[in-house]
Each structure stands twice: as structure tokens, then as C-alpha cells.
């Protein structure tokens, strides 16, 4: 379980996170929802140790985050994180060199599934293909958790379908998934838990299935309630 | 591993290339030479160093040659560590000062005037002058400060004296006799044509009070339009050693041409030596036949003087206490050479002189009292005989130095 406890983050004058707390379980897909600039990306980056926090703590499976977290959790950013001059296959080589949790078989499978050419240079990929490649790199790491920042933003419809297929497949299986989005429509039926952010705090966090059966509300309904009272 | 081959080869190339270059440069070094003994006792040759340059194909390279070998000072010794350790060479080059630093490290700190030391068994004295601007009298005054270290008790005493007149007075030598600290001071002349004014200040050891000031008038002859007289002090070669005497050299120059107001050319006509006794205050002329451009050195009570005249060196040594004068003459062939060079030095009661034999640079060491040749050595090329002639031809050694 990823536990985020009372984290605060300020960028110069602006306070982005003012005490955010939530959890993301293994085997579930948790979604951070909020408008642009609500701090969703910030939270993910903080969990991955990419930005320092002013206060608060983050624990993964009970342990404070350190360099071991990188074999436990994979991060798929909203942009490319590999050198543009590298070929796709060289990117694999790099990941294999450094990560023990790298599964090259799965990487090749996903490569074929996404119909990407290993000899292509990363810099020449279209936006859709770049997103697929980033996702591929994240999922081919055999980690317990996968964090994704805006996986569907700016992607064409067909690519979205492919990606959604992967989500629904057993590739996700027992992993804990934490993702962010500001557009819930594509994802609504996939996610298990929703965390609604506004003004740097968590407004509401709930299990989608329970919300549907007990109160008959969809995630969009709850969102309307919380954001436009 | 194959993947990393590129980087491994690259790293090996990067480090290895430079390493091989330095190994190669050690092998392919500039020519080496050595001072080899030809006659006499090789021990005497230890102190000699010949300086000059090797003429390469494009540039010339400065080098020293001594009995151990040669070193191209410009390059092999220039590194940061060496530069830092050899800072203030004008102070630390003297072996007696280095010894004093070893024995009395705290006292010797922050001393800059190598002339200002006196050391005997009981005490170590240091004196120096500093100029400050006095607000009250609106003039620069000189502060003479004296520090005395009692070697037995390790206690120091400090005295300070203000000297109003004359201005710009400098310290040249420090001596001690009969409870008096003797300070030899000189003042630069107001115009270039005149000679330094030389003063003897005596300060009491126990009370730090100025006991007497004497100006050595006999040395301050006035120059005129055609002749210039100058005098300067030759103190004991080991500047901190006790000595009752100081020698003065007074020389006369004739002006040969004048270019403008302040610049002129002159020729030295004659030199004369005087001995001054700190104890008695007596200035007496020495019976030494001098030429022009000789070298003189005071070592204890003996003043030694050597001057090159034609193809001969005239040696004189005079005992200041007994008044005994020894004279000797030595020719180039006496030393096993064909020519006498223009570089001589007197130290350790010996005369060290640069000589050449058929264009091969040599050095000779001669006893200052009787002119006996103690050592003669020549520069030889260290390397294959086939190259020797060529390499020697490109070697030009023009100066001699005595190692301290």
C-alpha cells in the first residue's frame, strides 16, 4: 500500500499541497482527480522522490521512500524520459542494465502489441507512440506499483483503445496502480478508487463500486457535487 | 560485456595515451650532462654548479650542470609544490638562516631582512627598519626594531627606536660586541651620482638605548662631473655569524658618456678596500691590490679577494687580526685550462672559477690562501660517445654558482 500522510509542498509563493493524505492499495486502480494545476503531478513526483516535500511523509509497504522504491514502483510520466537520440531497442538495453525488475520478454510482447519499431529513434515517435513507449517501459518493469501521470492526455482514439486494453488485461493483475487525470470519462469504468483534489487538499476519497451500489452515484456525479456545490 | 567494449577501450586510450607520453618523454629527454672531476679532490667539486643553456633546434633551454647531473630548471622543477616551497628565495637560500629557522622556529617567524641577524652561543638578535608616516611631525620616520632571543631561557626582549633623520635609512648588518648591538645602516643618495651614506649605530643590549651614531665620512666622497665614487659594505659571508669587522669596497668610476639628464655610461677605474672595526670604530685601508670587477668575501677574520687580470687571477687574503697578507697568482694553465671565464665566486675559503679548455666548460676550485688547485672538473655529455661532440657543441655554460 502506498500511504501519503499530510504532505505539504510550496513552490515559491504558491502553496500547491496543503496537507494531502490518501492511500492506494495493491490490486486496485486508484485515480487522483482534479483540475489542471491541482497538484496531481506533484503528488506522483513526490512519491517517486523526484521533488522534495516541505513536510509530511510517504510510505510504500510501510517503508520510507529511498532508492529501493525504484525497484518497487514504476513511474510513467506525461512526457518522454529517455534520450531522444536512443533507439527504442537501446532504451530497453538501458532499462535492462539498471533494473533487476526488468522483464524483457514482456517488453517485446508489448512492443509487438503496440506495433512499435525497435529500430526507430525515440525522438521520431508520434505523440501517441511516445505515450505507448513510455507505458511500455513502465509496465515491463515487474514492479508492485505503477504510477501514471495523465496517461491519456492528448492521445488519439485508437491509441487510447490499445492502452485501455492493456489496463484491463491481466498485465495489471495484482499491481497497485495510481494514476492522475483531469478527464474522467475515459477511465471511469476502469478505476476502483477515486481521490478528489481541490485547493491542495483531498475533498473526498471513495471506492467507486461502493459509491455506485450504495448511493447510486457515478464518479462524475460525485465530482459535480464536490466541485460545484 | 561486449556492449561496454567501446567505453573500456576509450578509457584505456585516454589514460594510457597520456601515461605512455610521459614515459616516452622521460626516455626521450633533453641531453644530460655532468661535471666530471679531472684533477684533485672530487669532494671539492660538490659545491659547484655551472649555469647556461642547451641550444636546441628551435629554442634554447636553460640548465644547471653539477657533479650529480644536469637539470633543465625551467621545466622539470616547475610545479606548484616546488614553487610554493621555494618562495622567498632571497631569504631562505642562506644555509645559516635555514638552520636558525630549524632551531628557533617561533622567533624566526615573520622575519624578512636576511641581513638583520646575529647569532652566537648565547643569543640570537634580529633587527629591521620600517617606515611610517608620523601625523604629528608630518614626516616619515624610520622605526628600528630589535628583537633579542636568549637561547638558554628562550625569552625574547624587544626594543624600538625612532630615527627621524636621515630618512630612508636601511639596515645592512647586525653585530654584537661588549654589550653593544652594532647596526650598520645606509642611506641611498639623493642623486644617483653620489655614494651611499653609511652609519654605525650602537644600541645597548641591556637597556635598548641608543649609545652612539657615527657617520663613516671617509667613505662618502663626493662625486663630480667626471668621476663617481661609491661605497658598499661586504659583510661576513655567513651573515648571522659574529664578526668584529665589516669590509667596505669603495670604487671609482669614470663617466664615459652622458645620455640626457639621468643616464650615463661609466667605467670602473679602481677599487679600494677598507676594514671597519665595530669594536674600536676604526676605519683602515687594506693593503690589497685590487683591479676592477673582482670578487671579495669576508669569512671570519679573513678577507679574501680575487680579480682577473689578463689571463691570470690575482688572489689576496688578508687576516684582519694579525695583519698578515697572502698573495698568489694563478694562471689558466695552472688550472688545466686555456681560458679563464667571467664568473668567479669566493666561499668556504676557496675560490671557485669558471674556466674553459678548448671550448669545453670547466670549473676549478682554488685555495684562497696559497693559490693551490684543489679541484678541476669538466662538463661531459652523459650518453653515447658518437653524439658527444655534437652535444657538447650545443652546450653553452657561462656562469658558475656555489651551492649554499
Amino acid at each position: 500500500m502506498i500511504e501519503v500522510v499530510d504532505i505539504h509542498k510550496r513552490y515559491l509563493r504558491k502553496k500547491v499541497l496543503s496537507g494531502v493524505s490518501f492511500t492506494a492499495e495493491k490490486g486496485q486502480i486508484t485515480c487522483l482527480i482534479g483540475i489542471n494545476g491541482a497538484g496531481k503531478s506533484t503528488i506522483l513526483k513526490a512519491i517517486m522522490g523526484l521533488i522534495p516535500l516541505n513536510s509530511g511523509s510517504i510510505r510504500i509497504d510501510g517503508e520510507q521512500t529511498g532508492k529501493a522504491v525504484y525497484e518497487k514502483a514504476a513511474f510513467v510520466a506525461d512526457h518522454l524520459t529517455m534520450p531522444l537520440a536512443m533507439k527504442l531497442s537501446e532504451g530497453f538495453q538501458f532499462m535492462e542494465e539498471f533494473y533487476e525488475s526488468w522483464d524483457s520478454e514482456r517488453a517485446c510482447e508489448l512492443m509487438q502489441f503496440f506495433k512499435l519499431d525497435p529500430k526507430e529513434r525515440i525522438g521520431n515517435l508520434s505523440k501517441g507512440n511516445a505515450a505507448k513507449y513510455s507505458l511500455l517501459l513502465g509496465l515491463s518493469q515487474d514492479t508492485e506499483y505503477v504510477l501514471m501521470d495523465e496517461p491519456f492526455s492528448g492521445i488519439d482514439m485508437f491509441s487510447k483503445e490499445l492502452i485501455t486494453e492493456v489496463f484491463a488485461s491481466e498485465l495489471m493483475g495484482e499491481r497497485g496502480v495510481l494514476l492522475t487525470t483531469h478527464e474522467i470519462h475515459d477511465m471511469e469504468y476502469l478505476i476502483d478508487k477515486a481521490v478528489l483534489l481541490q485547493d491542495g487538499v483531498v475533498r473526498k476519497s471513495f471506492n467507486c463500486e461502493d459509491m455506485r451500489s450504495s448511493e447510486g452515484k457515478s464518479v462524475t456525479d460525485v465530482m459535480r457535487e464536490v466541485y460545484q456545490p | 560485456m561486449k556492449r561496454y567494449l567501446f567505453s573500456i577501450v576509450f578509457a584505456v586510450f585516454a589514460v594510457g595515451g597520456i601515461a605512455v607520453s610521459y614515459i616516452y618523454s622521460a626516455i626521450d629527454h633533453l641531453p644530460k650532462y655532468r661535471l666530471a672531476a679531472v684533477q684533485g679532490n672530487p669532494e671539492e667539486g660538490r659545491a659547484v654548479e655551472l649555469l647556461g643553456s642547451y641550444y636546441g633546434s628551435v629554442y634554447s633551454y636553460a640548465l644547471n650542470v653539477n657533479e650529480i647531473g644536469s637539470s633543465y630548471s625551467q621545466y622539470t622543477q616547475t610545479n606548484f609544490r616546488h614553487n610554493i616551497l621555494n618562495t622567498r628565495p632571497w631569504f631562505f637560500r642562506y644555509s645559516d638562516i635555514r638552520q636558525l629557522v630549524k632551531e628557533h622556529r617561533p622567533f624566526m617567524r615573520n622575519r624578512s631582512n636576511s641581513n638583520g641577524f646575529y647569532s652566537d652561543e648565547e643569543r640570537l638578535i634580529y633587527a629591521d627598519t620600517a617606515r611610517t608616516y608620523n601625523e604629528a611631525s608630518k614626516s616619515t620616520i624610520t622605526i628600528l626594531s630589535i628583537s633579542i632571543l636568549d637561547k638558554a631561557t628562550k625569552q625574547t626582549r624587544e626594543y624600538e627606536l625612532n630615527i627621524e633623520e636621515p630618512h630612508n635609512i636601511l639596515l645592512r648588518d647586525v653585530q654584537f660586541t661588549d654589550d653593544r648591538i652594532h647596526l650598520l645602516m645606509s642611506v641611498y643618495p639623493s642623486d644617483r651620482m653620489s655614494s651611499d651614506s653609511i652609519y654605525h649605530y650602537a644600541v645597548g643590549l641591556s637597556d635598548g638605548e641608543l649609545k652612539s651614531v657615527e657617520k663613516l665620512e671617509q667613505l662618502a666622497l663626493n662625486s663630480d662631473d667626471e668621476h663617481i665614487y661609491r661605497a658598499y659594505a661586504i659583510a661576513d659571508s655567513t651573515s648571522s655569524a659574529p664578526n668584529d669587522f665589516v669590509i667596505f669596497l669603495q670604487y671609482e668610476e669614470k663617466i664615459t658618456s652622458v645620455n640626457g639628464v639621468d643616464s650615463y655610461r661609466s667605467e670602473r677605474i679602481s677599487e679600494r678596500f677598507y676594514a671597519y672595526s665595530y669594536r674600536t670604530g676604526e676605519l683602515s685601508a687594506l693593503p690589497i691590490k685590487s683591479g676592477d670587477r673582482g670578487v671579495g668575501s669576508l669569512d671570519g677574520n679573513v678577507f679574501a679577494y680575487a680579480v682577473k687580470q689578463d689571463e691570470e687571477i690575482m688572489l689576496s687574503s688578508y687576516d684582519l687580526n694579525t695583519g698578515v697578507l697572502n698573495e698568489a697568482a694563478i694562471t689558466a694553465s695552472d688550472m688545466g685550462a686555456t681560458e679563464i671565464g667571467n664568473s668567479m665566486s669566493i666561499a668556504n675559503n676557496r675560490l671557485y672559477v669558471l674556466i674553459t679548455k678548448d671550448r669545453v666548460p670547466m670549473a676549478a676550485v682554488v685555495d684562497i690562501h696559497n693559490g693551490e688547485l684543489l679541484y678541476a672538473g669538466e662538463a661531459v655529455y652523459v650518453g653515447p660517445d658518437s653524439e658527444a661532440e655534437y652535444r657538447m657543441g650545443r652546450l653553452h655554460l657561462l656562469n658558475l654558482k656555489v651551492k649554499e
Binding site: L12, K45, G49, L50, I51, P52, K67, A68, Y70, E71, F75, A77, H79, L80, T81, M82, P83, L84, F98, Y99, E100, G123 | R3, Y4, F6, S7, F10, F13, A14, V15, G16, G17, I18, V20, S21, Y22, S25, D28, H29, L30, G56, S57, V58, Y59, Y61, Y75, Q77, N79, F80, R81, I84, L85, N86, T87, R88, F91, F92, R105, R109, N110
Partner: protein, 271 residues
Amino acid sequence: MNRYLKLVHMEIYRFRYILGGLMALTAVFQISALVSTLLRELSRRELLGENASGSPLSFAWAVASTNFWFIIPMLICIAVIAMYVFWIWYRDWVGRSSFIYRLLMLPTSRRHIYLAKGTAILLFILSLLSFQMVLLLVENMIFNLIVPAELRVESFFAEIIQSNLALKVLVPQSFEQFFYAYGLGMLAVFVIFTAIMLERCYRGIGILYGILYVGACVLVVTSPVLFLGLDESIYYFYPGEILAIASALCGIVLVISLLLGFRLLGRKITV
């Protein structure tokens, strides 16, 4: 250790084309300058009938006569490496792809990233020097091919180096000095790296921190000259003591730069 080496390999590999380009540029400049100078001199001698009487040519002379054209590519190499000391970091932040994310998420101590970049810079510098040495060897052979044996004379290695104004400085005669000079150079690289860390951690005001940090380090390292009288105006310390102080100060600046850099990269860095 393993990961550190892999990172070094990565850094070398991604710079290989620029390095190759610099080496090729140097070779082209130097060899063409050498050949044209030699041919010009030989034909001049031929014309004036000096071949029998003139002084022999040496490779050291050839190097001395082509100083300008030899040095231009060297200056370019130095400039490129100097800029890469900064760019080796900033390239991972700037552009469409942020490789810094990937680097910071590697399951390795972050100081390995810092050290790998430093090691890479050092290797680049040494490789260019080594290449220049090999090039001199090749140029000497070309010289021997062009100039007939009767007209030439051998040069010592030291003569060749001394004949070029830049090589004199870049390849000091004393190996001890090589260590000191390039050691100081690497110290400067690490100081700059840590200044870059300061800038990347504190963004806006970080530039000021970085500049102040570099200024402070320069002050500390040059203080023996400024304050301890290495320039021979203050006499309190003995030379041995000044050496010890200067060495200690350099050591302190090195250790602080490394530790501060590690700490900033490890905990305070922000993408």
C-alpha cells in the same frame, strides 16, 4: 560500483560523435597546416638554392611555425568541453524529453550520477590529450615523409612540446605538475557541478546561490596567494606551512563540493 560504471559508459557513449568530431577537426586543421607549411618551406628553399647550405629542418621547427593553426582546434576543443561541463547536466532537463526523471529514478545512489558525469568529463579531457599525442606522432611521421633525410634533424619530445604555446601549458614537463594542474581542473569541475546542483534545487534564487558558491570556493582556494603571502608580501608562515595550508584548503573545497553536491542531488533536487 557497477551501476556507476554503467553510467560512465552511458555518458561516454552519448558524447561519442561530438568527441569524434573534435578529434577529426583537430586532425584536419593540424595535418593540413603542417603539410602546407612544409611544402611552402621546401619550395622556398629550392627557389633560393638554400637546400645545400641552410640549417636543417626539425619537427620542432614545424610545430613552432604552425602554432596558429594547431592551436585553433585545441581552443575549440577546450571551449566545447567547458560548455559541456554545464551541458552534461542541463541537457537532461531541457527539451522534449527529461532524461533526468529516468536518472533520478534509477535504483542506485544518486551520487553515482554525479561522479559518473565527473568521470566522463575527466576521460574526455584525457582522451583529447592522448589523441593530440598520437596525432603528434602521426604528424612527425608525415614530416619525415615529406622532408628528405638530408634536410632534417631529430627533435626531442620536450622540444616538440615546448614549441607550441598551448601544449607547453597543457602537457607540463613535470608529471607531478600534470597531477596538480589537472587535479585543480577537476576540482573546478566539481565546484561547478555543485553550483549547478544549487541552481537546479532552488531554481530562481538558485543561480545566485550557485554564483556565490563558485565565488566562495575561488576565494578559499586562492587565499594562500591573497592572504598568506604566497606572492611574497607577508612573511608570517613558512613555505612548508603555506604548502600544507594550500593543500588542506583544496582538499576541503573538494570534500565540501562533493558532499554538498551529493546531498543536493539526493534530497533537494527537483525536476
